[in-house]
Amino acid sequence: MNQRVRKLLSMDTLRKIIPLAGLIIVILVFSFTTNGLFLRWNNIQSLIMQAAITLVAATGTVFVMAHNNLDFSLGGACALSAVLSYLVTGGELIPFFIMCIVFGVMCGLISAFIHIGGRVPAFMAGLCIMFAGRGLAQTVSASKTMLMVGAAQFNQLWFFLVVLIVVFGACYFLFNYTKVGKYQKLIGTNPMATQLSGINVNKYKTLAFVICGVTLGIAACLTIVRSAAVNGNTGLNLETDVLLALSLGGISMQGGSATRIRSAIIGVMFYFILDNGLLLWGLDADYVDIVKAIFFLLTVTISIDRSQYSVIA
């Protein structure tokens, strides 16, 4: 019986389409069970705007995951970039956005430096940055209220759509059609062979962190657009949201050539649609997480490519 279950679960075709199929099924289910609420334009509009922050951050994170690292700094780095950017620019909008991205890249570079220069696993470096970044953001922001009322004017669909299309488009291109993306996948498969194929592994790993930093900075900007204030809680749980969403999207946990950037879009949409749809159902708030978790476990169970692992990680 166990073996038969496994056989069924390891069906290759099923596996590959499940994240997308799951997404479509969830969309269909919610479309028919919410009295049309789910498909209303307003709801779709909100969904896009809600998902944007996580989606932007997740898209850049794919580069880091492709070379087999987890970036756990996202939440803290997001708060840190926003707070520092505010302090530097005094909250003037355009400079703020630019500096946010600059500080995002700086956080990425710090991760890369600790990981590569200090030979510390990137996940642990990220964990420390998440910690220290959030702490610093809270300490610095404690002394004053950092409202950014002006940012609220961008809390509109067109702005989010433009950002999303540009970021995802650029990342999609970089990941699939340029050296930056291709090398990440090679590094993820075999770093030593990559180095001996004449590829500067450290440089390309660093580039991945830089790309991740750029998207993180943009995600921080979007967060501020949505919350109109900068504080120590900016970007709370971003790192776990991204990780959860990417897993839902069927990303390979070990990086390498099985990594697909579409995992970001499928996973993040899946994640936010679940939230949205369950609320439209009026499911009791205490049970939302349980249902979400069950969906999460089931989708991954069916979609994961076990042949990637000699031992399931």
Partner: protein
């Protein structure tokens, strides 16, 4: 749990409730009160729990609006939440109301007051209450304290922090050391913090705690009881009801306490329901305040600990709740309920007098 009946009649209005959680005293109590009131008033509630930052609150708000809610009630996690959620509600033509947090920015305040869908906000003056608590301690001759402060990114906590700090300055009390109340995680952190106070500052006479809920009050008492010190040799001034506060008071550890904010949530919520049902109270904006209870005697403490912020106790009768929703309700009716908030009121409500 949840919003009562699932079958929706055309009449039944839906209110979206954005709420940080129902695991602490106030959170749990309001969760119970609001559900009860909703049943009495025949409205449906949709809860979205767990948001701790504005971006998440906004997401919840949008989802609730899309779920067809006619009104949104929330505690703004920071001042900007008023602006952002307010805008979302305005765009969707949905009424909204808040409680517990003052708006600390003039621009935001102006925007909120100009928002046609803003119903009301009810807030308390935590700052003054904190000062009063410190004054209470000063009267008992305290001169050296340590402080468990609140999250400095939270407007209400900033009020409380400042109240304590200014109160100490006015009463010539020295604050020896401070540590921040962990917003999440373990109560052991609090125990460690209090132990550190005692080792670092043996001369400490009292502890000011910005919040006693979510296990903090219990943890402070555990630390003090475990210290081997004479009960009462260190005084505690703590916000909020917590388990065992009566005992702590009688032992002499706890010497002043304050709390009872759930009423302001309820009134704000009722005002929102009233507006959603089509009753306009007055032309302009109306905003209300509540004075929390200050507890200084054992008798007060007993009532406070037993009946205030207890999910199993409904302090407001069904009749009263019904009387606060209708075409003839005025701002004064609401303010009267808020003004009535006192230990005596509680006694009466639970039939002790």
């Amino acid at each position: 749990s949840g919003g009562g009946d699932t079958q929706t009649t055309g009449e039944k209005k839906k209110i979206g409730m954005i709420w940080y959680g129902n695991t602490d005293a106030m959170g749990g109590t309001f969760y119970a009160w609001a559900n009860h009131a909703a049943e009495v008033l025949n409205v449906e509630l949709v809860w979205s729990l767990g948001a701790l930052d504005t971006a998440t609150e906004l997401t919840d708000c949008e989802n609730l609006i899309n779920a067809g809610c006619d009104g949104i009630y929330f505690i703004p996690m920071d001042t900007a939440a008023n602006l952002q959620l307010g805008n979302a509600c305005q765009q969707a033509g949905v009424y909204w109301a808040t409680s517990n947090r003052d708006i600390i920015d003039d621009e935001v305040l102006a925007a909120v007051e100009a928002n046609p869908y803003f119903v009301t906000r009810v807030y308390d003056n935590s700052y003054d209450v904190c000062k009063n608590m410190v004054a209470e301690l000063a009267e008992q001759g305290i001169t050296k304290v340590c402080m468990i402060s609140g999250d400095p990114t939270d407007a209400m906590m900033v009020d409380r922090n400042n109240g304590f700090i200014d109160g100490c300055a006015e009463n010539n009390i020295e604050i020896l050391g401070t540590f921040q109340n962990p917003s999440s995680g373990d109560a052991t952190t609090v125990v460690d913090g209090v132990n550190n106070f005692m080792t670092l500052y043996p001369e400490m006479e009292a502890i000011l705690a910005v919040s006693g809920t979510n296990g903090v009050g219990e943890a402070i008492m555990s630390a003090l009881n475990g210290s081997g010190k004479e009960p009462g040799s260190i005084k505690v001034a703590a916000f909020d009801t917590f388990d065992g506060n009566q005992e702590a008071f009688d032992q002499g550890w706890l010497s002043v306490s304050c709390g009872g904010y759930t009423t302001e949530c309820l009134i704000s919520f009722l005002a929102l329901v009233n507006r959603v049902q089509g009753n306009v109270i007055q032309d302009g904006v109306f905003e209300m305040t509540l004075s929390p209870l200050l507890i200084t005697s054992s008798e007060e403490m007993q009532i406070f600990s037993q009946y205030v912020d207890n999910p199993d106790v409904q302090l407001y009768s069904d009749e009263l709740i019904q009387s606060l929703v209708g075409p003839d309700v005025t701002v004064e009716d609401y303010q009267a309920v808020l003004d009535d908030w006192s230990i005596d009121f509680v006694k009466e409500a639970v039939g002790l007098t």
